[in-house]
């Protein structure tokens, strides 16, 4: 106590000095991690390497994958998926392809180079000593895509410079340059006979003669009904993937809106259309026979289609992130896929089962590596500032540290740790991946525990306190803030736990993201129905309340009957009566009208009682004062009684409104296309009820919270005459 004043300059106790040291140490190490991470040093959280493309060798036993970490992965399926890593690219590898002879593996990278790898020399050499035999380079601009004729004589590349180059592989010369066209960004494909090269041009596809560079067919699509401009047959958004069928008769294209189209190359016309992917299509491929088309999408799914007719023929679900590449498998009953989750998967097409799974690296999804390093950087910088504040004994730094080390780790450490539960890996692998996170979590936990300590907390609560009263008040305030902080953290933790559990059971985030706008499209109607109904209810309630208070027996009887009837029957039954039963006596209402009437009349009855109570709460003195001033009964009611009654009923009316907003979900039963209706429809169609109703529930919840906030503000405003 005696060192109270001097403690404003530096921490008084040993515990406080230790705290400064701990925070500074934590911050410093975090910063160190971030710095070495960005400098490219090897110390980092285990994350997988995204795969951008995948290819199967003509001999059908090698799988090649283009990975983000700049290494081409090669698996030998015959040798129990033994993995080879081919190093050479100095940036992410974007595309791979095999030629039939040789065989040679071609890989294109963000460094602008195409490397040629000679497989027969690599396999005997062992897993990691491969060297490219040849490099092709025309510009340093990153390469997006590459396409090879089956015989390996012609190669086409597309770069971020929007230029298509056709190469003679033998000589290593560019024989044709097409472009640049800024709308050519994603995909290039050579026809199997090497005569045509196709590339995306916004939502169209342009084809050229591969040798002369002369433009050929342009695949644009058309209106099914030319006159009305109805039903566009073609891509709406940009084309993202292209592939020729093995015989060169068809060209398949995938687009950002998720459709895949099959074009007749000869006629330059759309042959079949397939729709299914919820995200952009990342790659399309024909199987060896040319009978089936496989597509991969940003919705984490692989889909298979019958080429003739474009009929759906299978869905392959398992990737934890977008699927980036697909290829026909080693036999006609299998397909291969690769994803940004860093996995290559082999699927069985008959019962859509996963046969095999390989990882580029064992680790978290790459996004978590980024989140983690950002947290390390942020908490490191902030931590240093806080440590300085702690040394100067500042309250903000105490609360700041508490907040940062309570909330932050939940998202940067606990969430990824729980994420690993959703990965199809063994517990020992999980431990292997997540142990640094677990250690860190324990460390943060003890730091927070230490921060909660009274010996620490009390000196920081009111460092400049002159009196006991000040100190007690500050202590109370800090305790409240701390309490709120832990409550908030608990909420976050519950969210995170729920989220992880739901993901473990296959919560389809891509689906939610895709359909969120559609479901939310019903929110407007929900709000409209609620608002109109509450308006109607308020008017009815006012009239009803006057009726209930009236001396006239007929009026009193009518309003009593109304209240009794409506309160005595279920809302759902009333809704059905308005919409389904009234037509029988000749009154047919639109669903929305029926819904508004049903809700409004129902809540009007409940609110009648609220209004009545509000009016009765106004004392006789108010009436007498108004009458004594010569005001008539109606003037007294309008000017004196009603405004005061309104103020009394605002809190219960607010509650009614919130309740009504939620009850408005019931009108989905009579085909009003509001939020719940859309959620239900969509969920049933796609077997995604969990996803759609989660969105709906979240909407109602958030809206309720927002309304409660405004309600409290309104109450405070209305109560301005009340304060004593």
């Amino acid at each position: 106590m005696s060192t109270l004043r001097s403690s404003t300059l530096h921490p008084g106790s040993r515990a406080m000095r230790l705290l400064c040291l701990l925070v500074a140490l934590t911050a410093g190490l975090s910063l160190l991690y971030a710095v070495q991470y960005y400098l490219g040093s090897p110390l980092r959280l285990a994350v997988t390497s995204e795969i951008h493309d995948l290819a199967l060798s003509p001999t059908h036993h090698l799988v090649a994958a283009a990975a983000q970490d700049g290494m081409v992965r090669l698996w030998d399926m015959d040798a129990d998926w033994k993995m080879y890593t081919l190093t050479g690219h100095t940036g992410p590898v974007t595309s791979v392809a095999f030629d039939a002879s040789g065989p040679t593996l071609f890989s294109a990278g963000s460094d602008g180079k195409v490397y040629l790898w000679d497989i027969p020399t690599i396999l005997p050499a062992g897993p990691s000593n491969a060297q490219p035999v040849k490099a092709l380079e025309a510009s340093t601009s990153p390469l997006r895509d590459l396409s090879l004729t089956p015989d390996g004589s012609l190669l086409a590349t597309l770069g971020d410079d929007h230029i298509i180059r056709v190469w003679d592989v033998e000589t290593g010369e560019v024989i044709q340059t097409i472009g640049p066209n800024e709308h050519t960004r994603h995909a290039v494909a050579l026809s199997p006979d090497g005569t045509l090269v196709a590339a995306d041009d916004a939502n169209h596809i342009q084809m050229w003669d591969a040798h002369s560079g002369e433009p050929r067919q342009r695949l644009e699509g058309q209106w099914e009904n030319e006159e009305e401009q109805e039903n566009w047959l073609g891509h709406e958004k940009e084309v993202t993937a292209l592939a020729f069928s093995p015989d060169g008769a068809y060209l398949a294209s995938g687009s950002a809106e998720g459709t895949t189209l099959i074009w007749d190359v000869e006629q330059g016309q759309l042959a079949w259309e397939t729709k299914g992917h919820l995200g952009a299509v990342s790659e399309v491929a024909f199987d060896a026979s040319g009978e089936y088309l496989i597509s991969s999408g940003g919705d984490n799914m692989v889909r298979r289609w019958k080429v003739t007719g474009g009929k759906f023929a299978g869905l392959f679900k398992g990737h934890l992130g977008s699927v980036s590449g697909v290829a026909a498998g080693p036999d006609e009953n299998t397909i291969l896929s690769s994803g940004v989750d860093g996995s290559v998967r082999l699927w069985e097409v008959v019962n859509n089962q996963e046969l095999h799974l390989e990882w580029t690296k064992l680790g978290l999804m790459p996004i978590w590596g980024k989140v983690f390093v950002i947290w390390m950087l942020g908490s490191g910088l902030l931590g240093l500032l806080l440590a300085w504040g702690l040394w100067r004994v500042r309250t903000w730094s105490y609360l700041g540290s508490l907040a940062m080390y309570t909330i932050g780790p939940l998202f940067a450490v606990v969430l990824p740790m729980l994420e690993t539960i959703a990965y199809p890996i063994t517990w020992s692998t999980r431990l292997h991946i997540a142990w640094p996170l677990a250690c860190l979590f324990v460390w943060y936990y003890f730091l927070v525990l230490y921060l909660r300590n009274d010996a620490i907390a009390i000196p920081y609560q009111a460092p400049d306190a002159e009196s006991l009263a000040q100190r007690l008040m500050a202590a109370q305030q800090t305790r409240n803030i701390r309490q709120g902080l832990f409550v908030l953290a608990t909420w976050f933790l519950i969210f995170i736990l729920l989220f992880s559990v739901l993901r473990r059971f296959g919560l389809d985030i891509a689906f939610m993201r895709k359909w969120l706008p559609f479901i939310m499209g019903g929110a407007g109607l929900t709000m409209f129905v609620s608002a109109m109904a509450i308006l109607l209810a308020t008017v009815l309630a006012l009239v009803g309340a006057l009726g209930r208070l009236a001396k006239n027996p007929v009026i009193n009887g009518i309003s009593g009957f109304y209240v009794s009837l409506i309160r005595g029957t279920p809302l759902l039954v009333q809704i059905f009566i308005w919409f389904l039963a009234l037509p029988q006596i000749g009154i047919t209402l639109k669903p929305v009208t029926a819904g508004i009437l049903a809700l409004g009349v129902n809540y009007g009855a409940y609110m009648t009682e609220i209004f009545r109570a509000g009016i009765q709460a106004i004392g006789i003195g108010q009436y007498e004062a108004a009458h004594a001033l010569g005001m008539s009964s109606s003037q007294t009611f309008r000017r004196i009684v009603l405004p005061q009654a309104f103020r009394i009923v605002i809190p219960p009316i607010g509650n009614e409104f919130i309740a009504m907003m939620k009850d408005s979900a019931l009108v989905s039963m009579i085909t009003v296309q509001e939020l719940t209706f859309r959620a239900q429809k969509l969920g049933r169609q796609n077997f995604r009820n969990l996803e759609t109703f989660l969105i709906a529930a979240a909407f109602y919840w958030i809206l309720t919270i927002v309304f409660q906030f405004f309600q409290s503000k309104l109450e405070a405003y209305m109560a301005r005459g009340e304060r004593r």
């Binding site: 004062a625 004594a628 001033l629 010569g630 008539s632 005061q644 005459g721």
Partner: protein
Amino acid sequence: MSEPIIKVRGLHKYFGPLHVIKGVDLDVMPQEVVVIIGPSGAGKSTFLRCLNFLEEPSAGTVEIDGVEIKARESGREHRRLIQEIRQKAGMVFQQFNLFPHMTVLGNIIEAPITVKKMPRDQAIAKAEELLEWVGLLHKRDEYPSRLSGGQQQRVAIARALAMDPKIMLFDEPTSALDPELIGEVVEVMERLANEGMTMVVVTHEIHFARDVADRVIFMDEGVWAEMAPPEQIFTNPKEERTRQFLAHIL
């Protein structure tokens, strides 16, 4: 000699079987101040409220400034006459009864605007004048709940005066006030009397009765037990009941 401005004849009031006012007559001259005193339950408030028909008398007639109403009538004409009388008679209550949802100014301009259809700016000008007169112009935009009891009662007086009444009725205007706040209200009432307002006042403020009243009525069990000038009733009451009552309160 001018006409009485208030003329009450044979006024009776029953609450169910309870006979509260038992046939009283009263004439009040313009500018006269009449104070009514009496024990609790004597019917003072009831009498006062019968004058502006907040209570409907059971029998008798009330005439104020030439408007005469008989008891136990009904209909449109009867209601119109009541409205007319109420505009001629301002009333101040024991519990102030200000409108809590309106500001001080709002309270005062309300009736002139809604009842008399007075233009708003004119009503405000008049209200400000009255507030000045009761010394509360600075509280113009305050809500009643933020005022002391004495201030509220002064606003209530200003509110009643805003209707330009011919007479003012006060029902124990100081009884709900803390002792130290009584003075400010009494002072306003005195000024009002001095400016020539006809007033009927139910009060236990003997000082006010002695100094300001022209006549004091001692009411007991629904009748005038004694009616006399203040100096006489306070110094030399004729009735034994009056004597006892005064002994009690003085």
